[in-house]
Symmetry: C2
Subunit: 478 residues, 2 copies
């Protein structure tokens, strides 16, 4: 919690922590608004706002005339996600996973499913597109010449300044000259990897991991070394250490420490520091993918915030947090900054001005924090609704842990169910999901699926989940 | 000349050809407007428009009451550009030219020169930025959700359709499914090279060549094989053949057949076909960079237009022709299309919607041809004015051939003058130019400079050229 947050958010954060930690168990009474006013020396409206925020986050429920109570977790028949069975890294692999991934993606798109449960992003209506569009209209009216002039090599200074300020949330201190604007986090990862590896090298990644990263590694001729990763605490630093000792061409680790995709794991601060220390000791580049961090229910530190030697290459994006229709990401590459600037320039030249200027104006307006709070709250509710639907419909033996933020749910189906078969059968019925096979070079996750809770729950989605349940049941009977 | 061009343009083209070919020598009288009306069965206003177009292109001059005459070439003391002295390719090189280039670029930008004669683009005022901005405003007003939704993998269909139509000008037949939208021609070249090479391979390029291509090759770990290139007829296919026989790891040729940068050369159709045949025979990928083609004074065929086997990877951009402030290019990769789609997707994901939608609407409006005609005419005048200033100011022994289109002039200074020394001295005086050293891994072009004629001629530029002249003179005296 940040002292610059509005008072009501600070008060809410205090109780959120108590609730999450179990200090205030489900069913217990929240101090009355009057009590809150006295305890925190805040106004009536501030105290009320704090309670409403916690309510919108699904932590409190109001009972007629009796005040607010800590809400019991929705009943779910689903067991907590299991820790990874394997404790060792896979040998570094390069198995042509790209074909599998792009085949699944192409089929998923071509089928034009009625309900899309794949993807890892919120619904467009949850982003301030209208406000962004107004900034765009004004810019184009006042400064049409930005469509005719070439942008700064590193990106628009005003945007870099705003992003440095945003990075303070993750406790990172950067000055704008240390950033380069990129075409999304994807391009940031692409130049980061090119800066620190040569084809044939190995790169450690979480397992399961974001399929786009596997595609990128393959397209660069790199081998992925998959490290066991907990659905709760993220990458196993121990397993990484053991694997690194075996792989002389290991050059870098790519990690999503906050809201890992697909697991939703958040690494504890101690693990983040241990990972950094391990990379220092072994002279590995640490590429930190920050894509989802701002969607954490409670703010989390970035690994970059502990970096004193320029070893962490921080890659981020506004894709999931602010504008899924824009391609604006950024990179702060520490000791590799000069090389990264060269590679970005050679690979695609600077991003165009228009999008950067729109985002710079929006961020300067200071509405981002309010937007993010609303987005987090909506995602929390949607995750819970989706988990409820899953627990109502999927067969016994299904496992799921609720991630502390973000749009994705990572669901383990009972042993023997193939997510690829389920993908096919569901697509036939107009439902698209993310089969576990996409997230690893191995077949280890074939009984997992990733479900997007980014869209507001509606009847169509409920029916789609029921369809999945019926398909699973019939596949188990066979 | 295209039968779909307006009548007056067809009439003008007829006489342009006659003038260029020498059938109508300088000083000869243009048929009177009345004669034109009869000869071509056109209206008075069409005949007049045709004459005015030729006048704006610097081919005719009006004499009071006497009608139009073929204009004598402006007196220039400059000799025609020399053919390359070397006839053999350089051995494939990888000499870290990037540092030299980026050092020159960085110094050039940091000096904030009063007059910038480097760059290879027209002035923003010569592009329809206001019309583009109006399309943008309307789009953002009517469809703000495009800032929140993710674009098509290959790029916006409407834009790909418009670009296929535009490609008809270069006599290329493509359907929209064969295109991928990229972040400029730079990214198109980047994925093209990645599709057909592995690090350590050699790629044949023109010598001199666009420095961005050298940077790209170096950043991909590729070796540049520099092929002698004529300032008039472009790449020497003979020299390429000889070099290819010596270089087993040669995988591709990158060529700018129409308005080569920096030479301004246009390859004759026979040379284009010979190059394609040679690439077929040797199984080389032919990467065609189309960046400036639409700026040719008379339309030219693309090599891609003869490609029947999918061997040509066609890379283009709207940067120089329509919107220098936007990052929209495209690639049609023939037999490598699936791989190129994968690489573009993995490297940076699809371009964002907004810019694509703006350009699609503009192109659908059909104003592009009129814009291009005006842009070509203005560039022709500016090139001539710039050449005149250069011939007035630069020392005897300076050589220059006027390119048949585009913004750039490639100037050979008298032997012994170093363009790098001139670059330094000129920067001191607030003038930036492109020193020849940037365009090759060799030092062969150190007595060349590239001068941008993209900006309307003004006093500041005239003074800047005079400054260059004075500096050259004093350097020669030493
Ligand atoms: C972990 C992770 N990194 C990066 C990306 C891509 O980000 P961008 O769209 O900014 O390129 C995604 C998108 O799904 C992701 O999940
Ligand atoms: C020959 C050539 N190719 C490509 C480019 C870059 O094009 P874009 O800006 O579309 O990436 C340039 C720009 O100077 C160029 O001269």
């Amino acid at each position: 919690m940040d002292a610059t947050d509005p008072l009501y958010a600070q008060v809410a954060a205090h109780y959120r922590q108590a609730i999450t930690a179990g200090t205030m168990p489900p069913g217990s009474r929240m101090p009355s608004v009057r009590t809150l006013m006295g305890l925190h020396r805040v106004s009536l409206s501030t105290a009320l706002q704090a309670c409403r925020l916690l309510e919108s986050q699904g932590l409190l429920q109001a009972r007629q005339r009796a005040g607010y109570f800590v809400r019991p977790p929705r009943p779910t028949r689903l067991a907590r996600a299991a820790e990874p069975r394997q404790t060792q890294a896979d040998p570094a692999r390069f198995v042509g996973v790209h074909e599998r991934i792009s085949e699944i993606l192409t089929r998923g798109i071509a089928a034009r499913p009625e309900v899309n449960l794949s993807g890892a992003c919120a619904h467009p209506s949850l982003y301030p597109t209208r406000a962004l569009a107004l900034h765009g209209q004004r810019l184009l009216r006042r400064r049409p010449e930005i469509l005719g002039t070439q942008p700064d090599p590193q990106g628009l200074l005003g945007l870099r300044q705003a992003l440095s300020r945003l990075a303070l949330n993750a406790q990172i201190q950067l000055d704008p000259s240390q950033l380069v604007i990129t075409h999304g986090c994807t391009e940031a990862l692409s130049v980061a990897l090119r800066a620190v590896t040569r084809p044939g090298d190995a790169v450690a990644v979480e397992s399961p991991t974001y399929y786009g990263l596997l595609q990128l590694l393959e397209s660069l001729g790199l081998r992925a070394l998959e490290i066991p990763t907990s659905p709760h605490t993220g990458l196993s630093v121990e397993a990484l250490e053991a694997a690194a000792a075996q792989e002389p061409r290991l050059k870098a680790v790519v990690v999503v420490p906050n809201l890992q995709n697909p697991l939703g794991a958040v690494m504890p601060d101690a693990a983040k520091q241990a990972l950094l220390a391990s990379c220092e000791a072994r002279d590995l580049a640490l590429i930190e993918d920050d894509t989802y961090a701002l969607l954490c229910d409670t703010p989390q530190r970035a690994i970059k915030s502990w970096d004193t030697t320029g070893r962490v290459i921080f890659c981020s994006s506004l894709h999931k947090t602010l504008a899924p229709g824009m391609r604006v990401g950024w990179i702060a590459a520490g000791r590799w900054q000069p090389r990264v600037e060269i590679l970005k320039y050679a690979q695609s030249r600077p991003n165009e001005m228009l999008g950067q200027a729109i985002l710079a104006e929006f961020l300067a307006g200071g509405q981002i924090e309010r937007h993010l709070r609303a987005l987090r709250a909506k995602l929390a509710t949607q995750r819970e609704q989706m988990a409820e639907a899953l627990s109502d419909e999927l067969p016994t033996g299904t496992r799921l842990s609720m991630p502390p933020g973000g749009p994705s749910l990572w669901v383990e189906l009972p042993e023997g169910l193939s997510s690829l078969a389920l993908f096919d059968a569901a697509l036939e019925k107009g439902v698209r999901l993310g089969p576990g096979l996409m997230y690893s070079n191995s077949d280890r996750f074939d009984n997992f699926i990733r479900i997007n809770a980014g869209n507001p729950m509606d009847e169509a989605q409920r029916r789609a989940i029921a369809t999945l349940g019926a398909l699973c049941a019939s596949m188990l009977r066979r």
